[in-house]
Symmetry: C3
Subunit: 179 residues, 3 copies
């Protein structure tokens, strides 16, 4: 009887422990309680919001400098031939668009590789260092592109972000290659 009672107690204790863990997982908060994943979510949201801001910047410069890509966009500024003169490219608008495209080309790999890297169980401080360097590099890249700062400011910002993404890709492939 003694043994049975002890078993019973043990069993109740373990059960409640399991229950807590299991419920945590079932409602999916587990992933969001993983610190690396939460950090990735925060930095990703920030850098994607920054990238979206580039659309607003393009719209702003198109409107203030009256340089549009579509006839229907400048219909409000005049009729017929008068409106057509606004169908032109503008240096500042093109600069913002190049910065935006460069963001896209670099943030997409960060999104994919960073997500998989975050799920591969990296060291928290190493992971956060990667995320911070990338986000900092891309914000500095935008500042250097739009000001514009003399080279090699923009080039260095670009290669820093590039190197961070490759470092995550390397760690991911080294530990988890499955082809």
């Amino acid at each position: 009887m003694m043994d049975n009672e002890r078993n019973s107690t043990l069993y109740k204790y373990d059960l409640s422990l399991f229950q807590t863990k299991i419920e945590k997982m079932v409602d999916l908060t587990e992933l969001m309680e993983n610190e690396v994943f939460m950090a990735f979510a925060s930095y990703t949201t920030i850098i994607l919001s920054k990238m979206m801001f580039m659309s607003t910047a393009t719209a702003f410069f198109r409107l203030t400098r009256k340089a549009f890509a579509n006839p229907e966009d400048c219909a409000g500024f005049g009729k017929g031939e008068n409106a057509k003169k606004y169908l032109r490219t503008d240096d500042k608008v093109e600069r913002v668009r190049r910065a935006h495209l460069n963001d896209l080309e670099n943030i997409v790999p960060f999104l994919g590789i960073g997500l998989l890297y975050s799920l591969s169980g990296p060291d928290l401080s190493t992971a956060i260092l990667h995320f911070r360097l990338f986000v900092g590099a891309r914000i500095y890249h935008t500042v250097a592109y739009l000001t514009p700062l003399p080279q090699p400011n923009r080039a260095l910002a670009f290669f820093l972000g590039y190197g961070v993404t490759f470092s995550m890709a390397y760690r991911l492939l080294k530990s988890r290659l499955y082809l």
Copy 2:
């Protein structure tokens, strides 16, 4: 003995309950049984398929309007100087390409922010409202761009999708900021 029997029964019942839950998780279907995540998966697949359709639209207009970007693409239409006249830009082709790029610029943030938002345990009906508005706005944006509809049709579609993504980013950062 009575107590032991009751415990035993309870234990069997709980065990089978656990087993179900645990097996569900081990084969990863858990994530796919989460309703918010399934909704995100469905809407994302639809909007990405729509975006891919833009490639086909570009190819279609390049072929029907004979406006190519690469010499090897128009080699079938003639030789030497005769083929070179097809190396040109065409208004309709450029319009489709701008719509495609705008899709890319807006769907990438939706992909990243929407995925993280879906995993952060939002209210199901709120989440589905976000997804529906975004997908509807982007489809309307394409229709407005390719028809083309007079402004502000396209601008409103753009800002609706933009606002939805920012709303998800805001909710995500408010509840889960970890820097």
Copy 3:
């Protein structure tokens, strides 16, 4: 008593089984022990690294062919009017940029749809076939674009990758549509 003992033994056995499974999940390695997901992670990392290489190729051709998009980029090659002559487009640079943009337009849908497809519990060999075909097609697309190989080499590579992504989207929507 016999029954109780048997139960006890069963219970201990099952418990240790549970413990292993549960711990596996809590530290998130579960996702990375899923073979389909690991394969997706590996192929995605490879194709995104390939895409990032296009940035380096663009930079390489811009420098060797002295064709820049920004005044600050060619400041090192001369002053004033002398530098402005390097602000030009170059066929090879534009070709690399088109290949890069085409990558972006096709790899973004693969990223989103492939991730969700991987989580939907597909057959391992089917999933790996999809990933391999896509990665192979995109690498061949880049080779065909940059060489350049005569058509329809590039077109076939494009449509193979396109078809693979649509096949994953179809399987995903067929089994998991939730609107």
